[in-house]
């Protein structure tokens, strides 16, 4: 009988749609006008790209992502949409899918609620360049 440490060429892979192992640092929200677009994201770009985006937003929205290109939007479109919000960050998921988001490190979503870190996805864009 082979020992448990013997070489095993075929092992079960983690299911791509699995839950993140780390607890999110940021609560991820989407603007209601783009909620429908968000629900189409996985179909448009695939589960891996969609999860990479969500993980970036939930864990490190303040940092440059390793694999996607980002920039700050310019002019008034790039300004914080209220006190405490960041400038607008444009994230290219693929050449055919982009999102714009802002983050807030002490946002209160309801009266009397605790301040917490949130990311607001403002727009989802599926048009090609």
């Amino acid at each position: 009988m082979a020992s448990e440490r013997a070489y095993q060429p075929l092992q079960p892979a983690r299911r791509p749609g699995g839950r993140p192992q780390e607890r999110p640092n940021y609560r991820v929200l989407v603007h209601r006008k783009f909620a429908k677009h968000w629900r189409q994201l996985t179909d448009r770009v695939g589960i891996q790209q969609a999860q990479e985006l969500w993980d970036h937003l939930a864990q490190t929205p303040t940092e440059m992502p390793a694999t996607a290109s980002t920039c700050f939007l310019r002019g008034k479109a790039g300004l914080p949409q209220g006190p405490g919000w960041s400038r607008t960050i444009h994230y290219e998921v693929t050449s055919k899918a982009r999102v714009d988001y802002q983050f807030h490190n002490a946002f209160v979503t309801e009266a009397g609620g605790d301040p917490h870190q949130v990311v607001a996805i403002l727009t989802v864009n599926f048009s090609s360049h």
């Binding site: 209601r32 006008k33 909620a35 996985t42 920039c71 310019r74 802002q102 209160v108 727009t123």
Partner: protein, 159 residues
Amino acid sequence: MSNIIFQPTDLAQKRVQVLEAARTGGARVRDKDGTSLVMLPESRLRLLEQLADWGTAGLRLEQLLARATRPTVADLGALGWLRVFDDEDQREFLDELQQALLAAHADEDLGVLDGCVLAWRTTARQLEDPLRRSVLMGHLDATDLEDVDRPDAELTDGQ
């Protein structure tokens, strides 16, 4: 650039020196009819072309924005994509472009200039759509937002 002036025959007889001069700043070759030709690294040529093109575009835009009337798409020409921005944003673009041109010239690197133009063009594309524009130019309120979970392979809109 070196003060050495090569002859056409040097392109065969002194090709190593010609190429080395070209690599390190520029190789000047005097053609038989007296025309002075210069061989440069392509990256250097692109830098000079881009500085000239964007410098001219910046001067043209500066003139347009100094007028009392808002520039039309025809006035803007190749910068027609700026039409989606209001007057204040167009001036902000001009300010950033001028700073980027100075930085690119000083650094001899187009990174800052390319980044500046790309970010403004990206913003223009985002603002072309009325729905995106209404959100990006608006004010964010908690009631505008709803939670989204991590995308799941088994839960997509198409299923």
